[in-house]
């Protein structure tokens, strides 16, 4: 796992890793405990500023904003992880078929990928939620498909590149079937690019969930969500400006962490950068 060490060596990567770990830890803790009940309304203590009892203050119906933001980490982590998994599967599947299948399959898949890329995640989500109703599942599926297609395009190029390298061809020549060739040779080589894309997809997932929940297509009212909180609070932002900062910052910092981690990962695993480092030492 030398790449992990490389990533942590960079300040950006270390920052990203720390925030991600904190986020996951908060999410796990939030499953069992939050400082107060995030949904408990208290009409006598509305719109309070930050205090010892309410670290982030309270909202329009008296809910403790800190507890809500804390509870919403569950949603965020869930969406980020599941979306990435779906995106990975979709991407890998499409890419493998699109790169290694027989000619009559490759061409249509290539066209399909290029068309699907034109469908932004938001439009897919709107379409799906019109059909399936607004839910986290909609968000996860939409991000999974939307970003999965992006991953497919990147991965397809990588797979084709690797599949043409000398030693893979040698492997095929010596009798390795196409599937074994894929798992033994191709996958380990595209792994770095792949993992980077996954980290970025987590960032996209969090942003999408925020935007979709804001529009009403994401988390239902019973599920705590930063996007939803933003939607609730933004109507009163001119009167109570501080409140929107908490969910907004939470989203920004999380996405930033995923992006920084992904960037550091990319730098650590990019073979080109590695060789240029060697060149400068000659």
């Amino acid at each position: 796992m030398t790449w992990l060490r490389e990533v942590l060596r960079r300040p950006a990567g270390a920052f990203g890793a720390v925030v991600i770990v904190l986020l996951v830890a908060a999410a796990v803790v939030a499953v069992f405990w939050t400082p107060q009940d995030p949904f408990e309304t208290d009409p006598f203590h509305r719109w309070l500023g930050p205090s010892a009892a309410h670290l982030f203050g309270t909202d329009r119906v008296g809910r403790d904003i800190f507890s809500y933001v804390f509870a919403a980490t569950r949603t965020t982590v869930l969406v980020a992880v599941l979306s990435s998994v779906v995106a990975a599967l979709v991407g890998l599947l499409l890419a493998s078929i699109g790169a290694l299948g027989p000619r009559w399959v490759r061409e249509p898949v290539a066209v399909l990928i290029d068309v699907l890329i034109a469908f932004p995640v938001l439009l897919i989500a709107i379409m799906l939620s019109a059909v399936l109703g607004a839910s986290l599942g909609t968000v996860i599926t939409a991000v999974g498909i939307g970003f999965g297609v992006n991953i497919a395009r990147v991965a397809r190029g990588e797979i084709r590149r690797v599949a043409r390298t000398g030693y893979v061809l040698a492997g095929r020549a010596s009798g390795l079937g196409p599937w074994r060739s894929l798992t033994d040779h191709v996958l380990p080589n595209i792994a770095p690019v792949f993992i980077v894309q996954l980290s970025l997809s987590a960032g996209v997932a969090v942003l999408s969930e925020a935007g979709l929940s804001f529009l009403g297509y994401g988390a239902p009212p019973s599920t705590p969500s930063w996007g939803r909180l933003l939607s609730d609070l933004q109507n009163y932002v001119t009167i109570y400006p501080l409140t929107v900062v908490w969910p907004g910052l939470a989203i920004t910092v999380s996405v930033l962490a995923f992006n920084l981690f992904g960037d550091a990962l990319r730098e650590a695993t990019d073979p080109r950068l590695r060789s240029s480092r060697r060149r400068s030492e000659r």
């Binding site: 066209v111 709107i126 019109a130 933003l230 933004q234 989203i251 992006n259």
Partner: protein
């Protein structure tokens, strides 16, 4: 070259067709019943059935699809299932808001992102370059919604500079006010997308900095900076053009969100409302138009890129 354009147009048409099929099929799986929505909660099963037949919703799916596509090709995008008004006319009015919004956002995004991206690459060994890059990273992570709210606070409420919400009822007949209402929303999208463009431009410029031909140019009789600007930048701009196609999709997504946030009567907000109303005819045409826009811009960008890069010009 002509051959490439022809193939690209064919791919565009194919893409539009696939998009239309995907949109149509997905929406037809709809569990909600428009006829029920129109009829109201107290309508009898008979009345609902009559409404459904009247709207042509009981015909076989392929027939409905061909009917829709046929209409689209003639400019008839169907009628709202709920109000009966033709989709095309309403769409036209909304596009008059969304397209300028997207255009302004693109201009702002490129205008901010490209120069700052180049600058941060040229200064990459100094604090200034690092700060710009770090700021761009942070801004790119901000959800459009939050950015919009912050801008409303900064420029709208506290400084009272610009109209905060809404679009003048007279629309573009009052161009000054109309344009002013688009500035904050466009700035919201523009700043966030500009950060993305900045990071891309920065990495492209960094690559250009190390390129051999830039060094050759300097060796001819220039400073390294001039060599970078005259020989390195054109290559950078070329790769930015390739990215613009993807940016358009992000811009339209941003438009959907800011239209809701800033109460702008554009296609995005219309889409959100129509989905809530389960107004199938409108939703499918709106989605087709939006996706079509993205695909068309993508095709135009592809051709442009091909024309401008001599290495690609003669390939089949």
């Amino acid at each position: 070259m002509l051959r490439f354009v022809a193939i690209r147009v064919a791919l565009l048409v194919l893409g539009l067709l696939v998009a239309a099929v995907l949109i149509f099929l997905t929406l037809r799986v709809l569990p909600g019943d428009v006829a029920q929505v129109i009829g109201g909660t107290r309508a009898t099963a008979e009345q609902v059935a009559r409404i459904r037949t009247g709207l042509g919703l009981d015909r076989p799916i392929p027939v409905q699809f061909l009917d829709w596509i046929g209409g689209v090709l003639h400019g008839d995008l169907g009628r709202s299932l709920i109000t009966g008004t033709p989709v095309a006319t309403e769409l036209g009015a909304k596009l008059a808001v969304t397209l300028p919004l997207a255009g302004l956002s693109l201009v702002l995004g490129l205008g901010l992102g490209i120069p700052l991206g180049v600058l941060s690459a040229v200064l990459h060994r100094r604090v200034g370059g690092f700060l710009i890059a770090a700021a761009a990273q942070a801004v790119a992570a901000v959800p459009v919604v939050f950015a919009g709210v912050l801008l409303v606070l900064l420029l709208g409420a506290w400084l009272h500079l610009l109209p905060v919400q809404g679009f003048p009822l007279d629309g573009w007949r009052e161009p000054g006010r109309a344009f002013a209402s688009l500035i904050l929303p466009a700035l919201t999208i523009g700043v966030v997308e500009g950060a993305v463009v900045l990071r891309f431009t920065r990495s492209a410029t960094l690559e250009a900095l190390g390129q051999d031909h830039v060094r050759t140019a300097a060796a001819k009789g220039m400073t390294m900076t001039r060599a970078l600007v005259t020989h390195g930048l054109p290559g950078v701009l070329l790769s930015v053009i390739a990215v613009i196609g993807l940016e358009i999709a992000a811009l339209l997504v941003g438009a959907v969100i800011v239209e809701s946030l800033f109460q702008l009567p554009g296609v995005g907000r219309m889409l959100v409302t129509d989905v809530a109303n389960r107004d199938l005819e409108k939703v499918q045409s709106e989605l087709l138009v939006l996706t079509g826009l993205i695909l068309v811009v993508g095709a135009v960008v592809d051709v442009l890129h091909r024309v401008l890069d001599p290495r690609l010009r003669e390939q089949a």
